[in-house]
């Protein structure tokens, strides 16, 4: 009888572990508090979300130099920063790839790309690849719109920038702009999660 009891407890404990593991693996969902970070920018300075005292939130974009989809969106990412940084939602770009696998994404290459394209937003290196797994980013580009609240930076939108990677002029739905506009207006985000093809993050 005692053995049976022990076994029962053991099974229950194991079950609990299994449950915890599956629950934690998927990254953030809408409504979760996003972690802050301290990552190196292309100007050599360390950048955290907490540095942006006046921000109402953030457009965090996992992106890189080497993915054709990320490249296709470079100008649109810059335009997002131009439009929303002054309104309280700056773009924070984070490069998540392992640069041993993708040397074209190393710090020197990031600096060169940012200079060539005239990026006005921070372009940070996820050195050690500790941040993107917490967010649950799987590809580049992958966007997280965060709203700053007293509880922390709350995830409000996850997904794509818009619905046409090929042609900015043929876009019908500007998902990120719609999300930030809704936040600024205090309205509900109609489409809080969208999807797009992207390059898998290189580990």
């Amino acid at each position: 009888m005692k053995t049976l009891k022990t076994m029962f407890v053991l099974v229950a404990v194991l079950g609990l572990f299994a449950f915890t593991t599956t629950n934690d693996s998927g990254g953030y969902e809408i409504g979760d508090v996003a972690t802050d970070f301290k990552l190196e920018n292309i100007d050599g300075k360390m950048v955290s979300l907490s540095d942006f005292k006046k921000a109402k939130g953030f457009i965090v974009i996992f992106t890189c130099n080497t993915c054709p989809y990320a490249v296709a969106y470079e100008d649109r990412v810059e335009a997002l920063n131009k439009k929303y940084a002054d309104k309280g939602y700056p773009v924070i770009a984070i490069m998540p790839n392992n640069t041993d696998v993708k040397p074209g994404d190393n710090m020197e290459a990031m600096k060169a790309r940012a200079k060539a394209k005239g990026f006005t937003f921070p372009y940070l290196m996820d050195k050690g690849q500790k941040i993107y797994p917490q967010y649950g980013a799987t590809k580049t580009p992958h966007v997280y719109v965060l709203e700053k609240t007293s509880k922390g930076n709350i995830v409000k939108y996850i997904g794509a920038i818009d619905d046409n990677y090929k042609d900015a002029n043929a876009v019908n739905q500007k998902y990120v702009e719609d999300a930030v506009d809704a936040l600024l207006a205090g309205e509900e985000i109609k489409e809080p999660k969208t999807r797009a093809i992207g390059c898998s993050i290189k580990v």
Partner: protein, 174 residues
């Protein structure tokens, strides 16, 4: 008695291999001339290929020439298609290359690597509408693979080794 069995075995093996090789050569020539004409679809045009209800197991791989991990695993899909063709397994490679790269990159890639699998090209920029139709769990990263037959479907947002691929396909054969 023993030598006879041995001879029989040798005979069976050689019988199995010889014609395969000849067929292979013929197919290579055929496929090469065919691959010059890409079969380009939007999602509506592609969807039937993801829902065929015959006796085959379909291994559908989403890839692109610019996707390094995709290119790395392509030989395994080719190998699988060759080794499992007698098991009713068909490999379909769906390229997500950009239209501007069809002539300059995709066609040369197919020709250079002499790809034998069925190749389709998906050109549909409204990704948020079709990605969940392929699979509700797909975040959109490639490589991604769908294995299905008329009874079940399994989706994998991951890279494969040949052994892993074989293991998954075998689940559909038993």
């Amino acid at each position: 008695m023993k030598p006879i069995i041995l001879i029989l075995i040798v005979f069976v093996f050689s019988c199995k291999e010889a014609p395969t090789e000849i067929v292979e050569v013929n197919e290579t020539t055929e496929e090469n001339s065919k691959s010059l004409e890409l079969e380009i679809n939007d999602y509506a045009g592609l969807e039937p290929y993801l829902n065929l209800k015959d006796d085959h197991v379909y291994v559908v791989n989403f890839w692109a020439t610019w996707c390094a991990p995709c290119v790395k695993e392509l030989p395994f899909f080719e190998q699988l298609g060759e080794n499992y063709k007698d098991n009713n397994v068909k490999v379909v490679l769906i390229s997500l290359d950009f239209p501007k790269d069809y002539e300059s990159k995709l066609i040369p890639f197919i020709e250079k690597n002499k790809l034998q699998s069925k190749i389709l090209v998906l050109d549909d920029p409204d990704m948020n509408s079709w990605i969940p139709k392929v699979n509700p769990d797909w975040e959109g990263a490639i490589p991604a693979t769908l294995i299905y037959n008329k009874d079940k479907k399994q989706f994998y947002e991951q890279s494969f080794t040949y052994e892993e691929l074989k293991t998954e396909v075998n689940k559909f054969l038993n």
